[in-house]
């Protein structure tokens, strides 16, 4: 059934090529979403027209011809009732399966994605590449490469929306959300905030520049010379005195962070937690909520002392410690 629907949708989308009906399709998932959309449109039109014309037909055929007319009594028709309960149920089940499998595929970023960081604040988008290049309200990405965005907000809820890629995700204060895409067409596309965020919500927009991988490398290199995120993170790590407790060899008062990223840790509360971006952020902002099993709860909170951007840089540094360990194990 899904196969049939897909065939129908391909046919439909080839008929409906008018540029006004859909935004540009510039990501690897856009065509798939559009196919589903066209089939849904077809179903909507089909049923609307079917019901309208049936009503119209009845209205003409059974119009009241005499004021004292008494039509025959309504007869119950169980098979008919069952038919129009079961058929829509089957259609809905098919749509659910199709839409969900598409969503499932679209939700998981490939493991080899390039990671870029996004911070939303009233009313602009701050973007930082791991190489250190910063942008405001602009996002440069290479064509044909999966890109994963890790996003957070400094104030209220925003939403990162690129219509041409058919992707959207809320950007929420106090937590990390992520979305991924693979751009398929070099060009310039709208970037919108799609969650109402106050006075200048409608001005919180920008452009996404999709470049060929070679152009992208040139662009990255020609940016203002700056250090990588992990390098900045290392500096913050030392400046804030993190290094005095989190010593690499584990002799400090806090746990060593070498190789920590991606590991499961036992907490005092008995919980097991994966060390990911969200965990590291929580450990910095609210350390007492994630005290490790064999360590005293002595770490001070850094809430209000560092920006979301600095937290991301610290995370980049901690992550680099993990890969260093892997590298040294390999040697």
């Amino acid at each position: 059934m899904i196969g049939l629907a897909k065939f129908g949708s391909t046919f439909l989308s080839s008929v409906i090529q008018a540029p006004q009906l859909r935004p540009e399709a510039a990501s690897s998932i856009a065509e798939g979403v559009d196919h589903l959309y066209f089939v849904l449109t077809f179903i909507t039109l089909f049923f609307t027209i079917a019901i309208f014309s049936t009503i119209f037909f009845f209205m003409v055929k059974y119009r009241r011809r005499a004021e004292n007319e008494v039509p025959p009594d309504t007869e119950e028709n169980l098979p008919l009732e069952l038919a129009w309960t079961i058929i829509p149920t089957l259609i809905c089940a098919g749509l659910f399966l199709w839409a969900s499998s598409l969503y499932f595929e679209n939700s998981r970023p490939p493991s080899a994605s390039t990671e870029i960081f996004v911070i939303g604040k009233q009313w602009m988008w701050h973007i930082q590449h791991p190489e250190g290049v910063r942008e405001i309200n602009e996002l440069h990405v290479p064509e044909g490469v999966p890109v994963k965005l890790t996003m957070t907000s400094e104030d209220v809820i925003h939403d990162f929306y690129i219509p041409a890629f058919r992707v959207k995700k809320d950007v929420i204060p106090g937590r990390y959300s992520s979305l991924w895409f693979q751009a398929t067409k070099v060009g310039t596309y709208h970037l919108f905030c799609a969650q109402y965020c106050g006075a200048d919500h409608a001005e919180m927009l920008g452009w996404v520049y999709v470049m060929s991988p070679a152009d992208y490398e040139t662009w990255l290199a020609s940016g203002t010379p700056s250090e990588t995120m992990e390098k900045t993170g290392e500096k913050i790590f030392n400046k804030l005195g993190c290094s005095s407790c989190h010593q690499p060899d584990g002799t400090g008062r806090g746990p060593s962070l070498v190789g920590d990223y991606g590991k499961e840790e036992d907490l005092k509360s008995g919980e097991k937690r994966l060390v990911d971006e969200a965990f590291i952020r929580q450990a910095i902002i609210n350390p007492n909520s994630v005290v490790l099993k064999n360590y005293p709860p002595i770490m001070p909170t850094f809430r209000g002392q560092i920006t979301e951007e600095q937290v991301l840089q610290l995370i980049a540094y901690v992550k680099s410690l993990a890969s260093e360990e892997r590298n040294s194990n390999g040697k």
Binding site: E67, N68, W84, A99, N106, D170
Partner: protein
């Protein structure tokens, strides 16, 4: 439908004592416990609120004819859409059919003299008015800009507008809904006339019953949510704002746990009205009575389980998304069943095209469109793209305006002769139905297209490529606005100058039509005894009169 006969033809309306002329004076209205008079109190108050909310909408559409905004500053625009939403949802749509037609008709349709708790009923209206005063105060004191959804932490920690008076107004009005729901449930259970079994009830009563259950179970949740919002905003207790230890997504869960069922508070009574109109104007028993009745109840139940479909892009887990998606598809089925049954009711009927029927047919068309476009949003992959865009705006206006308001107007036109004892000019009424249908589609159809093209909602300014569709929408809105003014004028006119209506001008079945128009204060001289099913048009002729 009943065995009571009334010699109402001989007595001219003016000289007969009815609920309208039984007593005179402001006090007789403000202290009345007559459900019919309370219905009229509601009718006047929600009509006022409808035109206040409508004015905000007109200003918004006017502003949006230019990409850079034609009328107001962005801050003002944000207040316009917020106040439009708050007033239309909480002060017009939620009380619309239940509080006016429901109040008037529930006792009359079940053969009772009043609701179970007449004084509680009056109290509901006063609570509604107090809530409305707080909200109108918020409008006058500079307005509110959070969106009708009050999303945190914007509403709790960032907005500098009158959030507290607005939320307080909505909080207070909620109690009016709870009391009304309670009153209906008790009345329907305990006060049905002899012989009026559950499966002889008009389907309007089933719909009001299902709505009342949502009132009672859902409304406390929005009250609690807004109370917590107030605590955080006034006392800085960290509940929703992560900066003080809260969780902003928690607010959305709580808010939609009420506000999604609230959508069905708005549409279920409309579906009830539809069943009355379609049967009367085709002179047919409803096709599949029990399917239509139970679909109301199953909608009420499933409506409590679908709130998460508002949150597909908040980063909730994939499996939560899948669960809410499948439940959202499920709620589409009973709605589809109703549409098919109404259509089938027309088959071999004797169909007349009086104004209420035109509104009813308009409802079927617009509700069908609104329901089917809901499938786009229950589908996870397309919802990701459409969420937060104009597609959402178009979809819920097809349901709430195309559906609920069409049904409300159809119902008002149908029972107007019963309520006021007067007839309105039918030609004007049909003309208005047509203008509203055309204006509505021109306003909201382009918004579906805007949504898929990617225009986010709640934008005071927008990229110029969206202008053509926005101008079309604004043009439609001006037609729609005129469409709503026409009934206001001729219905008001008819109250004084309309020809006198007989007890049953449509030749309809149902206990309310066995009483004189307007009915006496006690509704029925003698409590009727019911011996037949609802909509039994085939076995006895009812003539218009």
């Amino acid at each position: 439908m009943s065995t009571v006969t009334l010699d109402v033809h001989e007595v001219p309306t003016g000289s007969r004592v009815n609920y309208l002329n039984a007593q005179y004076g402001v006090k007789s209205w403000l202290l009345t416990t007559d459900h019919k008079r309370i219905a009229l109190l509601y009718l006047f108050s929600i009509t006022l609120m409808f035109f206040v909310g409508g004015t905000f909408a007109v200003l918004m559409r006017l502003h949006l004819i230019e990409p850079q905004g034609a009328l107001v500053q962005p801050e003002t625009y944000n207040k316009l859409f917020t106040m439009h939403g708050v007033i239309m949802v909480f002060f017009f749509l939620v009380p619309s059919i239940p509080a006016t037609l429901g109040n008037f008709l529930v006792p009359m349709m079940i053969g009772a003299r009043d609701l179970a708790f007449p004084r509680l009923n009056l109290l509901s209206w006063y609570i509604y008015i107090i809530g409305a005063i707080f909200t109108l105060y918020a409008v006058i004191s500079g307005g509110v800009d959070t969106g009708w959804t009050f999303y945190t932490p914007y509403s709790s920690s960032f907005s500098h507008t009158s959030v507290i008076p607005t939320a307080l107004g909505v909080f207070i009005t909620g109690f009016s809904s709870i009391l009304t729901g309670l009153n209906f449930v008790v009345t329907i259970h305990k006060m049905r006339a002899p012989g009026l079994t559950w499966f002889r009830l008009p389907l309007f009563i089933w719909a009001i019953y299902a709505t009342s259950i949502i009132f009672i179970l859902g409304t406390p949740v929005i009250a609690i949510t807004l109370f917590l919002l107030g605590l955080e905003r006034l006392l800085h207790i960290g509940i929703f704002d992560p900066a003080i230890g809260g969780d902003p997504i928690l607010f959305q869960h709580l808010f939609w746990f009420y506000s999604h069922p609230a959508v069905y508070i708005m549409i279920l009574p409309g579906m009830g009205v539809m069943s009355e109109l379609i049967t009367c104007f085709s002179r047919k028993r409803i096709f599949g009575y029990s399917f239509v009745a139970f679909s109301s109840l199953s909608i009420a139940v499933i409506s409590f389980l679908v709130w998460g479909h508002h949150m597909f892009v908040t980063g909730q887990s994939i499996y939560a998304g899948l669960t809410f998606s499948v439940l959202s598809f499920m709620v589409a089925i009973p709605s589809a069943v109703k549409v098919f049954n109404w259509t089938a009711t027309l088959y071999k009927g004797s169909i007349s095209y009086d104004a209420p029927m035109l509104y009813a047919l308009g409802f079927i068309g617009l509700f069908t469109m609104g329901g089917l476009t809901g499938l786009f949003l229950a589908s996870l992959a397309t919802d990701v793209h459409l969420n937060g865009t104009y597609f959402i705006v178009a979809h819920f206006h097809y349901i709430m305006v195309g559906g609920a308001v069409m049904a409300y107007l159809g119902g008002i036109h149908f029972w107007w002769p019963k309520i006021t004892g007067r007839l309105y000019p039918d030609g004007w009424a049909r003309f208005a139905a047509l203008v509203i249908f055309v204006g509505f589609n021109l306003t909201f159809f382009p918004q579906f297209m805007l949504g898929y093209l990617g225009m986010p909602r709640r934008y005071a300014v927008y990229p110029s490529e969206f202008q053509v569709l926005n101008v079309m929408s604004s043009a439609g809105a001006s037609i729609l606005g005129i469409g709503y003014l026409i009934p206001l004028i001729y219905l008001t006119w008819s109250m004084r100058y309309g020809p006198t209506a007989g007890p049953n001008p449509w030749g309809a079945k149902g206990l309310e039509w066995t009483t004189p128009s307007p009915p006496p204060t006690e509704n029925f001289e003698e409590i009727p005894v019911v011996t037949e099913d609802a909509y039994d048009y085939a076995h006895s002729t009812v003539t218009r009169g």
